[in-house]
Symmetry: C2
Subunit: 282 residues, 2 copies
């Protein structure tokens, strides 16, 4: 489905970027960020640089060791740069993907959905994340969730077996892969606990702390402590096992108590200690 060109590796930009839908507004980024003069590492719609050398997110990806030692080896394997319009589901539960992408800009979500409409979001994907780690670990099996672009996204795309080879090419790479796998595994166990044993407030606090932590790792937290959060309350509900109405009330509570502020796709944690307490105790 990623219309990857079967020919040579991508050594120069394709004449026309592969795109799953025309971007209505390629510069759609956080106006507030611009207004406040904040430095946002990577804006939506921004496409990755030609060389992995210049990629600011490279060291937060599964390819980190190679991009440090021999970035050209990663570039040589890249088959495509793909942009996907916000809202589009571009990987479907049950498919066996032939390509694996590394998210460069924008956010995505992994989710499972039933015919009757019930939906559970498994995970949010931020720049640097691998889509889909499962495909890298189990290339012969179909993926266990669908993936939808939350904002416009752009990705570097590889053939599954190319990136598997890369991920196993050196000791450092194997360790990196193991780290990513283990991290995701731990994440799943924690989510399980959240959904089973925490209240709405606790789950929300847990999620916000996790997202801020992951943003922080990737230098995506602005100097004022705020971070990009292009997530509708509907998505929060589907991630936390709640309804939008109740998510709204829960957010309202955290906001009323001055613990967080949310405006225009940006979140700031004002009282981290208290948020952590809530995440632990509720």
């Amino acid at each position: 489905m990623f219309c990857a060109r079967p020919g040579q590796p991508l050594l120069s930009y394709p004449s026309r970027l592969h795109s799953l839908a025309p971007a209505r507004n390629a510069a759609h980024t956080c106006w507030l960020a611009g207004l406040l003069g904040m430095r946002i590492a990577i804006e939506y719609g921004q496409i990755p640089p030609l060389s992995c050398n210049e990629c600011t997110i490279a060291r937060h990806t599964i390819c980190r060791p190679t991009t440090e030692d021999a970035p050209q080896d990663v570039c040589a394997l890249r088959r495509d740069i793909i942009t996907v319009a916000a809202g589009r589901t571009f990987l479907h539960n049950g498919e066996v993907p032939k390509n694996i992408s590394i998210l460069y800009s924008g956010w995505a979500v992994g989710y499972r959905q039933l015919r009757d409409g019930r939906r559970q979001i498994i995970s949010f994907f931020l720049p640097g994340d691998t889509l889909v780690l499962e495909a890298l670990c189990f290339p012969e099996y179909s993926i266990p969730y669908s993936v939808k672009a939350l904002t416009e996204i752009s990705t570097c795309t590889f053939k599954v077996y190319d990136i598997i080879a890369l991920a196993h090419s050196t000791v450092a790479q194997r360790r990196e892969l193991s780290r990513a796998r283990h991290r995701y595994m731990t994440y799943l166990h924690e989510r399980l606990f959240d959904l089973g044993r925490r209240s709405a407030l606790g789950r929300l606090a847990q999620l916000l702390l996790e997202i801020r932590h992951r943003s922080d790792e990737r230098d995506l937290v602005a100097a004022d402590g705020s971070f990009n959060f292009p997530v509708r309350q509907e998505h929060l509900a589907d991630a936390l096992g709640l309804t939008t109405a109740y998510v709204n009330r829960t957010i309202a509570q955290l906001r009323r108590d001055g613990i967080i502020s949310i405006m225009q796709d940006r979140v700031t944690i004002n009282d981290e200690a208290e948020l952590r307490r809530i995440a632990e105790e509720e």
Copy 2:
């Protein structure tokens, strides 16, 4: 913690079985089963045979390919046979285990727990399961949950790196490992959906169907369709994210409608179609 003998592989039974606590009643098995003359493949407290050749559960373990082609290779690696008394937690969240066990008889659970007592059961372990698959996949990391024996259990125990080597020794073994890992991954995703988006009734139905399926695979379902289920309502509650009182009422409902019967650690699914409908729709 598994007091494995560092010396030679276990070619004969140790003079005294390593035991984490004396079994009060080594023959504690389902009296009802005996009464009804049912064949139970493996009873609690039964210890594995000396040779993997004669092991009835071997072909449902991670070692299947090797036990088919060269069972002596598995035996040669076994360092210990261990029994653990019911109720004992013998692997602790955060430890880096040096040994990996394959459950031969009895049931165990993997769980996470908070200081305040909240507990979430991640998974039930049946005969043939690996304790702990995470340790096999990520030997350098600590395990993400604790493991407690639900009944008296007995296990075949290996050194982590021995069984890792075994699990990667042949193409068939690598495939088997991949299958087990993928299966567990899929399981986690499904549990996540259950806890986030299904009602108490739906979750319970889902769990019962899953357990029966796994029991069936291992020939643990009796001729009359019943299967062993040594799980207290408290464990069900911790697995399903509910309270014991509500689990009780939910069971009562399924029972009242004639969909399942539970007596003395045995469950029978009387109306599978209806149970599946509930599992799907609720």
